[in-house]
């Protein structure tokens, strides 16, 4: 047998990926109930170890085991913990030798590579707790929107987006999705990550941080965080 040994278990509640090295074991746990598929972890990952899965489908069928919004590749992962720090929903946890590493003990936080996130804790529907450290604006291009697919409204955890009248069939012309409550937006980016056509664009405008940070690590990370799926293609 060769090291590292990778084991992956997936059930309806959690996904455990354990990497056993010769002297230590590391484990990344995704809580699928807390995860909304916002794609923050996939965007901020410095090694591109997390890629986008079927986001809309995973929210529509949360009970289906193999549909996970973020697909994780343990062979690329270096266990830096960037995703754990940045996840707005606290869905990710990192374990070392079977013990949970606290957020303050993660090396990039302890050594001040990333600044302190000034977040506001909010309680959303379904008892979901979000730490909101950013602000964003949502814009919808009506011509691109495939009327009535409703992926954005399906994934939105805060009730910012709603479809005025839900059509019985997807192909029926219906009213487009609309911004129901712009102030409720928690800037997670789930709607942008789930939109199949690029009609919905999220722009992260503000990021609340304080304290020291590493010039080499943090500015590129902000750039990646702000490069949401569809606004990225627009800007390029």
């Amino acid at each position: 047998m060769s090291f590292p040994k990778i084991s992956r278990t997936l059930d309806q509640e959690e996904e455990h990926v354990k990497v056993q090295f010769l002297t230590e074991s590391l484990e990344l746990i995704l809580n699928r109930i807390k995860c909304v598929g916002c794609g923050t972890c996939a965007r901020v990952c410095p090694k591109e170890a997390i890629s986008r899965g079927p986001v809309g489908a995973s929210r529509r069928f949360p009970a289906t085991e193999d549909m996970i919004p973020e697909v994780y590749d343990p062979r690329k992962c270096v266990f830096c913990g960037t995703c754990v720090v940045m996840c707005p929903f606290g869905a990710l946890t990192l374990k070392k030798n079977g013990e949970i590493i606290n957020l303050a003990d993660i090396p990039i936080v302890a050594q001040k590579v990333v600044p302190k996130l000034e977040f506001e804790t909010k309680k959303l529907k379904n008892d979901r707790i979000v730490k909101q450290y950013a602000k964003a604006t949502v814009s919808i291009i009506d011509e691109e929107c495939a009327n009535g697919c409703g992926s954005c409204a399906e994934v939105c955890p805060s009730g910012t987006l709603e479809i005025a009248k839900r059509p019985e069939h997807g192909w029926e012309m219906s009213k487009n999705v609309e911004v129901a409550d712009a102030d409720a937006c928690v800037a997670c980016g789930a709607c942008d990550n789930a939109c199949p056509t690029g009609a919905l664009q999220l722009h992260i405008t503000e990021l609340n941080t304080s304290g020291e940070f590493s010039e080499l690590f943090w500015p590129p990370l902000i750039k990646r965080l702000k490069a949401v799926r569809w606004s990225k293609t627009e800007g390029a």
Partner: protein, 85 residues
């Protein structure tokens, strides 16, 4: 690169076309080009069964929104995460 693919249970599929017309990406293509072909469609009816089409070289591919899975009356569609990712 995308890590998931649409899979269709051919024994169950009746070729009713609901998936092809409910797909938001197909909807946009229909609106702009008024026809679907193998080159641009994400899911298409061929010889009486639905066929998912994936091509790495083109811009539009299945986005994993799950509308077709929800609409399918035969529950014949699923999404599979690729092995070895």
């Amino acid at each position: 690169m995308q890590v998931f693919r649409l899979k269709i249970n051919k024994n169950r599929c009746t070729g009713c076309n609901i998936c092809a017309v409910s797909c938001p990406l197909n909807f946009n293509l229909l609106r702009k080009q008024s026809f679907l072909s193998e080159k641009n469609a994400v899911i298409l009816i061929k010889n009486g069964t639905a066929v998912p089409i994936y091509n790495e070289n083109r811009e539009i591919n299945c986005d994993g929104c799950g509308v077709c899975i929800k609409m399918c009356p035969q529950v014949a569609i699923r999404i599979e995460i690729m092995e070895g990712v």
